[in-house]
Symmetry: C2
Subunit: 477 residues, 2 copies
Amino acid sequence: MAAPKEFFEYVDASAGQFIQRLGEAVAIPSISGDAARRQDVIKMSNWLNAQLQSLGVDTKQVELGTQELQGQTLPLPPAVLGSIGKDPKKKTVLIYGHFDVQPAELSDGWDTEPFTLVVDEKSGKLIGRGATDDKGPILGWLNVLQYHHQHGKELPVNLKFCFEGMEESGSEGLDDLVIRESKPGGYFEGVDCVCISDNYWLNTRTPALTYGLRGIAYYSIHVSGPARDLHSGTFGRTVHEPMTDLIALMSKLIDREGNILIPGVDDMVSAADAEERKIYETLDYSIEDIEEAAGAKIALSDDKVQVLMGRMRLPSLSLHGIEGAFSTPGAKTVIPAKVAGKFSLRLVPPQTPENVTPLVKQYIEDEFKKLRTKNKLEVEYLHGGRPWVEDVKHWNYEAAIRATETVYKRKPDLTREGGSIPVTLTFAESLGVNVLLLPMGRGDDGAHSTNEKIDRSNFIEGTKLLGSYLYELAASQ
Amino acid sequence: MAAPKEFFEYVDASAGQFIQRLGEAVAIPSISGDAARRQDVIKMSNWLNAQLQSLGVDTKQVELGTQELQGQTLPLPPAVLGSIGKDPKKKTVLIYGHFDVQPAELSDGWDTEPFTLVVDEKSGKLIGRGATDDKGPILGWLNVLQYHHQHGKELPVNLKFCFEGMEESGSEGLDDLVIRESKPGGYFEGVDCVCISDNYWLNTRTPALTYGLRGIAYYSIHVSGPARDLHSGTFGRTVHEPMTDLIALMSKLIDREGNILIPGVDDMVSAADAEERKIYETLDYSIEDIEEAAGAKIALSDDKVQVLMGRMRLPSLSLHGIEGAFSTPGAKTVIPAKVAGKFSLRLVPPQTPENVTPLVKQYIEDEFKKLRTKNKLEVEYLHGGRPWVEDVKHWNYEAAIRATETVYKRKPDLTREGGSIPVTLTFAESLGVNVLLLPMGRGDDGAHSTNEKIDRSNFIEGTKLLGSYLYELAASQ
C-alpha cells in the first residue's frame, strides 16, 4: 500500500509552512551541554509537546531527574512521549528523535546567526543549528501527522513517539525510561519496530538506510601537579609541568595513519575478507565525497575501501581538546596547574565501553609511569554507548527500501554509520524488535559543525519518505 | 647617607593608608590582554598619572598608537612619564614599572574576588590581581614620594618615571618610546642608572637583587585541515585530524626531564663549571622552597643546583595550551578544524629570539613533514625579548645592597631570574647605563596565578627599601 497521491501533493503545497515551523524550532537554542541554556531545552520540550497535541497525539512529558553540570544541579529536560492510534490490527511503530542541539556561537565561525533559520533560496539550504540534527527530522514526523490530522485520515499504523532533550550530552536519564516503558504494561508495550531519523546519507545524492552504528567511549585524562597555575618564567625547567605530561600521553593514543595505539583495541576487530570489502566497493561513495564533506583534501588514504571501512567498520580515536589550559587568543605565559585531555573512541562489534575501558586506563597509566613524573594522573570514563548492527532482511527495512524507491526513484545505499546514537541499542535490546535508521539529511549537512544545514529538498522529500514508509509498513507481512 | 629615621617612622605610621591606596589600584581590572578591559587599562594610566601629579611629579601621558586585538583595533594604553628634581649635582635615577595585569576570573580558582584587595590579618597577606605584579611595587614608589612631598623634603636624587600598561602583552609600543626618549634631548637624557621593581625574592625569607633575566620567544603552531569542525563519528578514521598532528608536534618539543628537543637550542648554552655551580649551591634556596612555591612536590630533580640552574641559567620550554580545540567542561565530540598550540621558550645568553626562531621553525616543519599529513602548518612567532645579565660590582648594585642591609639587616641573595622583562634590555641598551632589579615581593606571591598576593611586610618594608636605596645612591661614588 503506497501513500496516497494526495499526501505528496499536500506536502509540496505546505512546504512554506513546514519551513516556517522548522524556523520556530531552530530559534529555541536548546543546547543540552550548556547549563545556561537548560531552560531553553525545557522550553523546546514544551513546544514539541504542544505541537504533538495540536496534531491529535496523546502526549505526556516525563521528568528524568536532575544532573550536575558546570557546578550546578539542573533538572533534566523532560522527555516527550506520544501515542496516536490503538488499532490492534495495525502495526505499532515507535519513533525516536531528539530536540536538543550542539553548542553554537556566531564566533565559532558561522556565516549567519546559528539560531535563526536562514533560507538560502539560491542553494536551497535551510541553515541553522539543529536544522538537520535533529529538529528537521522530528518536524518531518509532525508534517506527516499534520496531513492526516487536517484531512481527518487515520494513519496506516499506530505510532508511539519518544523524543528526548539530552542526546548531545549522553542521553542522560533516557535509558532508564526506555527500559521501564518497554516492560509489560509500559508505554512502549506492543511496539513492533522502531524508526530513528537522526543520521545522514553517505553523500549528497543517494538516499540511505543505516543498519549499523559505532559505539562510543569518551574519556578525560586528568593530570595535575602544582597547587595553582604557575609563571613559566619562574618555574619553567624546575618542575614537572602537567601540560608536558598530558601532551606526551595524548601523543601516544593514535598514529598518523589513524591506527589506535592502545594495545588490544584495534586487534578486537577482525579484518575484512574479500567479500566484505566488496560491500564497500559498491557503495555510491568516493574519497571525493568524503573530502567534499570535510571541505578539504585530507582523506587518510587514497583507497576508497580503506577510508569507508575507517568510518563504518573500524574503531576510531579523536582528540577533542584540553580543559584547564590556555585556550583563548593571545600569548599567556602560564603553566596550567591542572589539565584534562578529552578524547573518544568510536567502537564497533565486539567492542563495548565495558571491554575497552580497562585497556584504555591500563595503557595510559602504564605510559604515565614511563614518564616518571611527580604529577598525578586520573583517567576518567565520561560516557559511552555500545555499537549496533541490525538485520537488513527484516520487513522494517524492506518497507523503507520500497518507500525510498517511491519517493527518490532509486534503491538506497545500505550503510553502517560512523557516529553513535547509543539509544538505538537501548531500543533494540529493551524491546527486542528491529530498529531502522532512516536518514533525512545529506552527508555534507555539517551536524555538530558551523553552518549546519538541511537541504530544502531533503526536508520536503524526506517528509514524503517518512510518510511513505508508514504506508509501506502497513502493507508488509 | 642613610635614609632619615623619620622616613621609616612615617612609612610604619602610614601603612594603613598605603594599603588602602593599593586597594584602589587593584580595583581597576587593567588586563592588557583582554580587549574588553582596554578602557580599564587606560583608566589605570589616568589614575597613576593623577597620583604622581598630586605628589609633586611633573608628568605626561604618552600615546603609543593602536593595536589589533581579538578582531578589534584598540588604542594602546598611554604610558606615564614623570620627572621630579633637576639638580645637576644629584644622580638621576629612572624608575620603571607596569600598571597592567594578567587576566583573572573568580572561576579560575581564586578564593576571593581577584579585583578586590583582601587584607588577611592572620597571614598578613594582601591578596588581589596585581598586588605584587606590579602595582604593589609601583605604589611603593608613590609611598616614598608621599613622605617627601608631605614633609617638603627634597629627594636625595633626581627621579624619572616610566610606567607602562602593556607589559603583560609584550610591552607593545614601549620599545619605540624608550629608544626615542633615550636619545640626546629626550625625556630620559641624563639618566645615570635604572631601577626596576618587578620581580621576586627567590624564597620567602631572603631579600634579593637580580642581575639577570631570561628572554622569551613565544610561538603558536597552527594546524588546519577541514573547512569546518567535523563530527568525530562521521569523520573519525577517515581524515587527517589537525589535533592529532598538533599533539604529535607538541609532544616533540620537550622531554620528561625538561630538556628542549629542538636541535641546537640547549646546545647554545655552555655547561656550568665547578665555580659557577658553587654560586647556586650557596644561594639561600632549596628544593623545598621551589616546591612550597609550586604547592606540590614536583621538582624536576633532587639536585638543588640542577633545579636552580634550570630556572636561572638554562633555557626552558613550556606548553601553554591550545586555541581552537574543545576547552570547556563536558564531552563534545568534535574534530576541530583549526587549532593553534601555544608554547614559549625562556632564553639565556647567547640565545635571542632572532637566533632560536629559525631553529624552532625548521624543526617543527621537519617534524610536520615526517607526519606525512595532508593538513596545513604555520609556525608563528608571537613575541619575544632577549635575555639580560648585568654587572653586579656597579655602584647601583652596591647602593641596593647597603639599603637591603639597613632595612632587612642582612645581605641580599644575588640572583638571576627565570622570568622575562624585555624592557630591561631595552633600557640597558638604549641608555647604556647600569640597570638594577630590586624586587619587593616573595617567591610564593603567585604572580600570573590565582590568589596573587604581596605580604604586608614586603609592601611596607619594601617601601622603606626603595626609599633607602635612593639615599644610598646619593652617597655612592
